[in-house]
């Protein structure tokens, strides 16, 4: 009997998710043993044509990481979707848009202007910009088209499962592959991490007071952090209360507040909005002026509450000017 075929693909991402696969260490060998990796552009030399040559549904499972923001990414995502029985959105970007999703605060023009013109380190007197096609003699070179809006994978193609995390822990991946091999998969659409906010498993949970009454929001780089005490109780904005657990409290154990990469729990529609109302109600003042001052301590509200989830949130993106306007 031939081994089940598994594929890995990446879209708009940083490469960290690929690293998580490699981080399986001995585990990766077991996986390699049990399955046949048929496509993994980051690590192994396969071509698009190899995938095109496969029959539809021939791949047992494909793990896609990264968000979708270009024509090429969509084309590849649609291709592997067709060829795979099970498609897993792997990591925060694939699941929620992730860090690249913050580009939805701008439009393409603004992004390009910044990247190719206005940053301090840019030297580009001719204002050269990437183009989707270029003719050189008889040859036409093409590049994929980049879009205004970043999407999570499930906003463009049908997704069967989600593995959260920036990046996901090797354990979550190993568990998913094992469940796949054993045919013990949960209902379609499930997020493969416990449906419970981080606070529940947090090693510091007993030190969390009932009334936080936050008087000042502190930023981690500017203060010493007590390694035992609840971070919110110390005034560090921790997204733990509004973030799905299953991450093994890695950041907390590293003495850093949770930044929310696992996204919300199942029943929450908008992680940022929920975090915002929870944190805002923990502000320890009834005086409007004082409240305003305390909240000034949250320097980048969107980047704090919607760091990973902007693209899939109710906000989704900055309003685009009406067509033709």
């Amino acid at each position: 009997m031939s081994k089940p075929k598994v594929a890995f693909y990446w879209c708009a991402s940083c490469g960290g998710c690929e690293e998580a696969v490699v981080d399986l260490a001995e585990g990766v060998l077991q996986v390699v043993d049990a399955v046949d990796i048929c496509f993994w552009p980051c690590a192994l030399d396969f071509k698009k044509s190899d995938v095109e040559a496969m029959a539809d549904g021939e791949i047992t499972a494909c793990f896609i990481n990264g968000a979708i923001r270009s024509s090429e990414q969509l084309e590849m995502a649609e291709l592997v979707r067709r060829k795979s029985k099970v498609l897993v959105a792997f990591g925060s970007c694939a699941q929620q848009g992730g860090i690249p999703g913050l580009a939805n605060l701008f439009d393409l023009k603004g992004v390009m202007e910044t990247a190719y013109e206005t940053t301090a380190s840019t030297v580009n007197p001719d204002k050269t910009r990437p183009k989707t096609s270029h003719r050189e003699g008889n040859h036409e070179l093409t590049l994929p088209e980049l879009w205004d809006t970043v999407h999570a994978v499930s906003q463009r193609i049908d997704v069967d499962y989600f593995i959260p995390g920036c990046p996901p822990t090797p354990k979550l991946l190993a568990d998913a592959v094992n469940a796949l091999l054993e045919g013990k998969l949960p209902p379609k659409g499930s997020i493969l991490s416990p449906n419970m906010a981080l606070c529940e498993q947090c090693p510091r949970k007993d030190s969390k007071p009932s009334d936080l009454a936050i008087k000042e929001f502190k930023r981690p780089h500017a203060h010493m952090i007590d390694p035992e005490k609840c971070l919110l109780a110390q005034g560090f904005l921790c997204m733990g209360p509004a973030t799905r657990g299953g991450c093994e409290s890695l950041c907390i154990n590293g003495n850093m507040p949770c930044t929310g990469c696992f996204g919300p729990t199942d029943q929450v529609r908008d992680q940022g909005a929920k975090a915002l109302s929870a944190i805002a109600s923990a502000v320890g003042s009834n005086d409007e002026g004082e409240i305003e001052n305390i909240l000034k301590g949250i320097v980048d509200p969107v980047g704090t509450f919607y760091r990973y989830g902007l693209a899939t949130s109710m906000l989704h993106r900055k309003k685009m000017p009406a067509k033709g306007a």
Binding site: A197, E200, P209, Q267, V268, R269, A278
Partner: protein
């Protein structure tokens, strides 16, 4: 399939006569609603709240097997109950009903027919999407406390307290001053009947003291109000009197033996027109008839160096207690009547009338005291400047009322009390009295008759608002006099009237602490600063806060007859509420789904009713549904969405929002 089978919605669009139909195309809305998903039928009707309107719903549930009902009509405040009832009458759970407000929220606030019609469609569409997620619910039965708090012991508070006490209810009467009685206890006589004010009020005051159903707390302030209709928790702070109320018999011996042989401190009761000692009783018929010590004046309290002769005078009673401290009382009541009265307008800012600058210019309230036999002069009306009886007096109406520089409203009683004062002044001094008025407002029973009587008594009436009072004489006859200039609009000429005394008929305005009181009791003020009734015609003693009622001048200037009538009405409303013993509450409580709660504690400190606790063992939040009032605060705060609220589930709210936003 949901709850009770395939969703079959009936939509009823009401014309409300022309209230809705004039601005919203009801027919178009109905036709639109018919086509919406899950809608089994849609009808329009002239008055949905009428019996035949309600009958439509009943019949359709029966014959057309509806299992959801939407009525698009007025505010749910008015008729939600009606239609829930109709829904229930046909055997469907009342909470499968949803009301859409296309009157107050639509037809009444728009004039563009086309857009108002679109808005009505949007609102109905939202309701059809929301109602899919409705479930059968049962209202909750909550016990009502039988006690009532009355705040303010003027004639309004007294009347309300006595009425409730007579019905066998326990009343806490909280008065900030040392005695009850309010303004009425300061007057000599009352218009139009000229009965002696204290002769009719004192029996009521003593009845308060005597009633075993009334707990009277003077020198007291309400400092905190928690809870809700039927179950208020109120904190009252009792300031120290330094005299033990239960031991003092009001014999006045301590006052006689006080180190100060004469009064030295301005007597508040007499508006500073006389002096009192550091230990005093506000006036002879004060209730309670108990002395009090002014800590800012008493030598013992200030320096501990008094010879204490007055303490000896009290003797074995030992009623004087210098160690008395402010005391907090926490009471639970089912209803609250606010009867904090008014403040008499201080005319100092109206510089042209010279009050505070010209000695013989008085406020009406001061003259009430001067005319009063128990007042500072024993009832002799004499001038501040020379202790002489005035031979001529001018009374200027509308001081601070009907005046853009002060209050634009009419204080309603000033005309009448000015007539009363004119009569009393004339009677006591024989002086010539001039009333300068804009017009005489003698609206009440026997009032016009009283006005005529005054005219026949030879009181002078000059139609014109007093323009100025000056002591600068222009002619010989004005020397040493106060001169009132006024345009006599009947003669069309400016007159200068030299008099010995001027009385300013000051306005009645909202209490100094009205804004604070308003916040504490969660009620509103109207633009004039007085407390706002729920409806000017149909709910004149109710407020926006259920279970909080208004009586007397705190709601607006009025005379004693109206005050007493209103106090009776407020007592009646309170009685109707507490006598029911139980009330039905919306089943809109919140609850925590244990499996979803991470124990993050976000919700714990937020509940205004302390309904949330933490199960230490399980590390989960728990909501006591008996205490929950369905405010939704915790629901919004829970970052795990582990708390859900009946009638306002996420699914219901999100689909409703989505419905509104789905503009074609």
């Amino acid at each position: 399939m949901r709850g009770n089978g395939d969703v079959r919605i009936g939509v009823y669009v009401c014309h409300c006569g022309s209230n809705i139909a004039a601005t919203v195309d009801v027919e178009a809305v109905t036709r639109y609603a018919e086509e919406l998903p899950n809608v089994a039928l849609a009808r329009e009707y002239k008055y949905m709240c009428s019996d035949p309107g309600q009958e439509l719903i009943r019949k359709d549930i029966d014959e057309n097997k509806l299992n959801r009902v939407i009525v698009a009509a007025c505010s749910p405040l008015l008729h939600e109950h009606t239609f829930r009832h109709a829904t229930e009458a046909a055997g469907l759970n009342a909470y499968y009903f949803q009301m859409v407000n296309i009157r107050e929220h639509c037809s009444w606030v728009h004039d563009d027919r086309e857009r108002a019609t679109t808005k009505a469609k949007d609102l109905i569409r939202a309701a059809t999407m929301r109602i899919v997620h409705h479930e059968a619910l049962e209202p909750r039965k909550v016990a009502i406390r039988p006690e009532v708090l009355v705040v303010g012991g003027g004639v309004a508070g007294i009347q309300a307290a006595l009425t409730l006490a007579a019905a066998g209810k326990h009343v806490y009467l909280v008065e900030k001053d040392a005695t009850i009685g309010g303004h009425m206890a300061k007057f000599d006589k009352t218009f139009p009947t000229l009965d002696c004010s204290m002769c009719i009020l004192a029996p009521k005051m003593t009845a308060v003291k005597a009633s075993k159903n009334i707990t009277l707390w003077t020198c007291s302030d309400v400092t905190r109000v928690e809870g809700y209709v039927g179950n208020f928790k109120v904190t009252v702070r009792r300031r120290p009197r330094y005299v033990i109320e239960d031991l003092c018999v009001g014999c006045s011996r301590c006052i006689d033996e006080c180190l100060f042989k004469e009064g030295k401190f301005p007597d508040e009761w007499n508006l500073g027109l006389s002096k009192r000692k550091p230990v005093y009783i506000p006036f002879p018929q004060a209730v309670p008839p108990v002395a009090l010590i002014d800590p800012a004046a008493c030598i013992q309290l200030k320096t501990v160096k008094c010879k204490m002769t007055f303490v000896e005078a009290c003797g074995e009673r030992k009623a004087i207690d210098f160690d008395q401290k402010a005391e907090e009382k926490v009471i639970e009541v089912g209803a609250i009547i606010v009867a904090t009265g008014f403040r008499a307008y201080d005319p100092t800012p109206l510089n042209r009338y010279g009050y505070g600058r010209l000695k013989d210019v008085y406020t009406a309230l001061e003259v009430e005291r001067l005319l009063n036999a128990s007042g500072p002069t024993g009832g002799n009306l004499v001038r501040r400047s020379d202790n002489a009886k005035p031979k001529s007096v001018a009374i200027l109406h509308c001081v601070g009322s009907r005046d853009e520089n002060a209050h634009i409203y009419c204080s309603r009683v000033c005309c009448m009390y000015s007539l009363k004062l004119a009569h009393l002044i004339k009677e006591k001094t024989g002086a010539e009295v001039f009333n300068c008025y804009i017009d005489i407002r003698a609206f009440g029973k026997g009032y016009e008759e009283f006005y005529r009587r005054l005219m026949s008594e030879g009181v002078q009436f000059i139609r014109g608002k007093g323009a100025e009072v000056t002591d600068v004489a222009e002619e010989l006859r004005e020397r040493g006099k106060l001169v009132v200039s006024v345009e006599d609009t009947l003669l069309s000429r400016i007159r200068r009237i030299p008099v010995d005394m001027v009385v300013l008929a000051q306005a009645l305005e909202a209490g100094a602490d009205a804004a604070e009181v308003r916040r504490m009791f969660n009620i509103s003020c109207s633009a004039d600063g007085f407390f706002l009734e729920k409806h000017p015609k149909l709910a004149p003693v109710n407020t926006v806060a259920d279970g909080v009622f208004l009586a007397g001048c705190c709601q607006g200037a009025k005379d004693i007859p109206d005050t007493v009538a209103q106090a009776g009405a407020a007592a009646g409303e309170a009685l109707a509420l507490i006598d029911a013993q139980f009330m039905m509450m919306e089943p809109n409580t919140a609850s925590v789904t244990e499996d979803l709660c991470s124990g993050c504690r976000t919700c714990l400190p937020l509940c205004p009713y302390q309904a949330i606790t933490r199960d230490e063992q399980k590390n989960k939040a728990v909501i006591n549904e008996v205490l929950c009032k369905g405010c939704g605060t915790c629901v919004a705060s829970c970052p795990s969405a582990a708390i859900s609220q009946k009638l306002f589930t996420d699914a219901q709210i999100f689909s409703e929002i989505q419905g509104v936003m789905m503009h074609e």
